[in-house]
């Protein structure tokens, strides 16, 4: 908490002169119509006039934002940015990515260095005091990654192992508590980086690695001979994009684009990414009662 309040103090430096946006509404229209009607001081107007979107994200966390073998930035966060560019300019390539450290996610939004941050950001009330969150575009959770060749690999086997079961997890204030929620007796090994948490599994120092559900799906989809999903996930967390406060037109536009891509008719980009990065088919969209 003190960390957050310190950060808030620091951010106040960069908060000077945020003009409040005027009118609300005017969504679901083409870029040109929006340009004609968006309030003059909205970031939405600035972006349309500029001709491309500036998105802050990282480059070191598969499957969210990472470089593929060709050196291109890809991932689920990157796809969400492409969805916005498609909505703005009918061209998913019109995005400039600003690579940023996780610690820069909020400051870069509040100081206007980027139009929006899309970087696996957990929505929380404390953060929402500093920035506006978009609607969530993914529900993250904790899950267990195991080795397919091990004798103990399913969740039931891990649970039956009792205090002999060893679990690695990223260092965190409530890491131990989080594991003990589902495996009350397991030994918890806290490790410094996500990659090393998985390294501990491969080095057979632990029976399972507790990592993000999306990471488990990504690793298993990539190499099923090396990784196994133990079949348990818990601790749901919402991931949303971060925008500067005081600009409801721009926020509404982002929410609108995300909703259309996830629940409406323009879901090709979202579905392809969901399949590629998480190995899952999104649920079918059924006409009739709105599911959102």
């Amino acid at each position: 908490m003190s960390d957050i309040s310190q950060r808030r103090e620091f951010l106040k430096l960069g908060m000077g002169g945020v003009a409040a946006a005027g009118a609300i509404g005017l969504v679901a229209m083409s870029g040109k119509e929006a340009a004609a009607q968006a309030a003059g001081d909205s970031q939405l107007r600035t972006i349309i006039d500029r001709g491309h979107l500036i998105v802050g994200t990282g480059s070191t966390n598969a499957p969210w934002h990472f470089e593929n073998d060709a050196g291109e930035l890809v991932g689920m966060d990157v796809t969400m940015a492409r969805i916005l560019a498609k909505g703005l300019f009918d061209d998913p390539t019109k995005v400039e990515f600003v690579k940023q450290d996780a610690a820069q996610r909020i400051p870069n939004v509040t100081t206007g260095k980027v139009d929006i941050t899309i970087q696996f950001m957990t929505m929380s009330s404390a953060r929402a005091q500093l920035i506006n969150f978009s609607r969530p575009y993914y529900v993250e959770g904790v899950a267990l990654l195991a080795r397919p060749d091990a004798e103990i690999k399913t969740f039931d086997q891990l649970l039956a192992g009792g205090s002999a079961t060893r679990i690695s997890i990223l260092q965190n204030v409530d890491a131990e508590e989080s594991i003990h929620k589902v495996l009350p007796e397991a030994q918890v090994m806290q490790i410094d980086t996500q990659a090393n948490v998985i390294q501990a599994l491969e080095a057979k120092r632990v029976d399972a690695a507790a990592v993000d559900l999306s990471t488990v799906r990504w690793m298993v989809a990539r190499d099923a001979n090396r990784y196994f999903d133990a079949g348990k996930s818990w601790n749901a967390m919402l991931y949303g994009a971060a925008l500067k406060q005081g600009d409801l037109d721009w926020l509404q536009f982002v929410n609108n684009s995300f909703s259309i891509a996830m629940f409406g008719h323009e879901n090709a980009l979202y579905d392809a990414a969901f399949k590629e990065y998480f190995g899952l088919e999104p649920p079918a969209r059924v006409p009739g009662f709105p599911s959102i």
Binding site: F10, G14, G16, G56, A62, K99, Q100, Q104, A195
Partner: protein, 215 residues
Amino acid sequence: MEQILYAIPFLGHGLYITLLVSAIVVALSLFLGVLFGVGLVYGPWPVALMVRIFSDCIRGIPILVLIFVVYYGFPQLGLNMSSFWAAVLALTLFKTAQVIEYVRGAIGSIPRGQMEGAMSIGLVFSDRLRFVIFPQAVRRFLPPWINGVTDAIKGSALVSLLGVVDLMQAINQVIGRTYEPMPLYLLGAFIYFAINYSLSSLSRMLERRYSYIRD
């Protein structure tokens, strides 16, 4: 080994950025540091005081804080620069403060008699520095300065905090994709070592080159 060979092609640009950042920082800080250092030792008291305040403030601030102040604070003053230049500026400020102190130490270690002797044979100030003081001071300046240069190269990894993809960040990008950290950290350690070891060797050569000057 396979992982290392796989990673190498992705590190080229990062290595280039690391070397570029280091080169700019070292060159700028050398120029500014010598200028201000001379100002500190020989300048009139207002100049000396300004340099002293600058040096003490900058050296008293952690470099991490300095980087964030330049990146987020300077735009408030109307100076909006890219991540790359913000990082270079912050590292340069930090390094300049160090070079000022190296210069002060090196010049301060030359006996007063040298300056007075040069004055007595009628050399003007710039010639006294050029022909008498600097040739002697440079020998004392070199070892700490080269040490500072290797520090600057290692310290340049901090630019990744502003999202600049240097060698270390390029390594992290490959790890983010492969989840195989160990071979890549070893590779990174080896590359940094190779650069810095070459510099240390060069430094020893230079020190020998200047060793003809006796104290």
